[in-house]
Amino acid sequence: MAYRVPSTTKPLLRAQLTSRPANGHLAFIPQIRKLVFEFCDKWPSSANTRTYIHDHLEELARTNPHVEIVIRQRNQREPIARGFYLNGRDKVIPLNGFEITGIQKKVQLLLDASGAKIKPLKRRTVESTTEAARGIWSGLHVDEPFKI
């Protein structure tokens, strides 16, 4: 039986021929795809939402053409803004109790969000009565400061 000489180089398998995303390095794809406003026509808790939709929604849609904006009926309930994101999740924010500026801030929050689940970073902080043994490092007080 003939002996097959192993090749000099290792084979490149198909799974290796991939790339990792770099959103924002050159092109930025905004993560929100749809914004749904649900409100009641009659109840007073939706009054501010109705005013916001009447006065500011068209301008919002023009300045954010990458978002689909939808209006839905939500009778006898509190008004809601729901954002749908590219990772398949959605964020829901109730809009009762806010003034127009408050609603604008919440809508901006939805527009800027990525849809990722909010991970709480609450940890027990280190509280010590003694100062650090080796001092606190500072990037500005080194021989060669870091150059971007």
Partner: protein, 366 residues
């Protein structure tokens, strides 16, 4: 999120969902059983009906603006065409035989694929001039291959807009699965940018979305015997044979030694490697030397691309007006070492270009 939840989410993403406000007749006539046509044996499948409805036009315009092509793809018809895979047509014509066939992205995907290959190859070659051929091909696949196209399509949000149909393998055509259908969309978009603007605009689009991604080229260069490969490469360049020297060591005969070995060709250090044994350190040093040669990279602001010579005016390359751009070709060096060719590399003098430059005899090069 557990595996079951992730699987559910991905299955739900592949299922079609219809917004009733954009459907002309809801509920559809086929869904309502009428007593007059009781002889009909139609079985109504909601999922199939949903997959046949086009997505709402607002989602297409939002998609175009999301990827920055809002001014280029002004017509919804074009975007819809780019998001329709040819596998969809038989399903559509079977259910709606009277309606005109939907336009598919078959031609656009083929054109876009060629353009992607062109731009990726010139970019990889200009950025890494000394890369071995099979590694360059692998890098091109990594930048614009099917897996990347699927990833880009998902990140752009193409999944709810895609119209396709799962097709099993037939004797005349391969199977069509979700990744195959998804990967056709970014290719079609590249072709659309070329058709609506110019080749240079298509190149900008490809650089923005495909060539900005992170590809690990270093992991693609692997040798079974880097020491032997280095010896052959050094001989090709006409330098002294490589000698490995121990530079630093600590912990010999302990359970965690560290050796640092450097490989020298005469007085020049080619590469350095560490390891817990002398052999491993030498192996890594040889690998490092080969990486330092093959992964020489041109800085991105100095990269010269041959497609810059095309005119910048609108239209395809045969019709575009404008002046040619500047392109400065790189200097030719020695070609890569061909292993297993019994020393017959096809050149008269291996390493003649390097030797000629040393002796400043440029006539030999020409």
């Amino acid at each position: 999120m557990g595996y079951a939840q992730k699987r559910l989410a991905s299955t739900a993403a592949k299922l079609a969902s219809v917004s009733p406000s954009h459907v002309r007749v809801f509920p559809p006539k086929e869904a309502v059983a009428s007593s007059s046509s009781s002889s009909q044996k139609h079985f109504f499948d909601a999922q199939t009906w949903a997959s046949l409805q086009p997505p709402p036009p607002t989602s297409f315009t939002a998609f175009a603006h999301r990827i920055g092509l809002g001014n280029i793809l002004t017509s919804i018809v074009d975007i819809q065409r780019a998001c329709t895979h040819p596998s969809f047509v038989p399903l559509y014509s079977h259910h709606y035989p009277d309606k005109p066939l939907p336009a598919t992205n078959a031609n656009l995907a083929v054109l876009g694929n060629s353009l992607l290959g062109l731009f990726a190859t010139e970019y990889v070659n200009a950025s890494y001039p000394h890369l071995p051929t099979r590694v360059m091909k692998a890098a091109v696949s990594a930048y614009v291959g099917p897996t990347t196209c699927v990833g880009i399509a998902k990140e752009m949000g193409v999944t709810p807009l895609l119209r396709w149909n799962r097709t099993p393998t037939t004797p005349t055509s391969p199977a069509v699965l979700h990744p195959d259908a998804l990967s056709s969309v970014p290719r079609a978009l590249t072709a659309l940018v070329y058709q609506h603007r110019s080749l240079l605009s298509a190149r900008k689009f490809v650089h923005k979305f495909f060539l900005s991604r992170e590809v690990d080229v270093r992991n693609m260069i692997k040798f079974r015997d880097p020491k032997a490969a280095l010896a052959e490469t050094v001989a090709k360049f006409g330098r002294e044979r490589p000698i490995s020297r121990l530079l630093k060591e600590t912990g010999r005969f302990s359970n965690s030694p560290v050796f640092v070995v450097g490989i020298y060709s005469g007085a020049d250090k080619l590469g350095e490697g560490f390891g817990t044994s002398l052999k491993m350190a030498e192996y890594r040093a040889a690998e490092d030397s080969l990486h330092r040669l093959y992964l020489i990279r041109q800085p991105s602001h100095l990269v010269q691309l041959p497609t810059s010579t095309f005119a910048g005016g609108r239209g395809n390359v045969f019709e575009a007006n404008g002046t040619e751009g500047k392109y400065l070709a790189g200097e030719m060096g020695d070609s890569e070492v061909l292993y297993g060719s019994a020393g017959r590399t096809g050149q008269r003098n291996p390493g003649r270009r390097s030797q000629a430059i040393e002796e400043e005899d440029l006539e030999v090069v020409l």
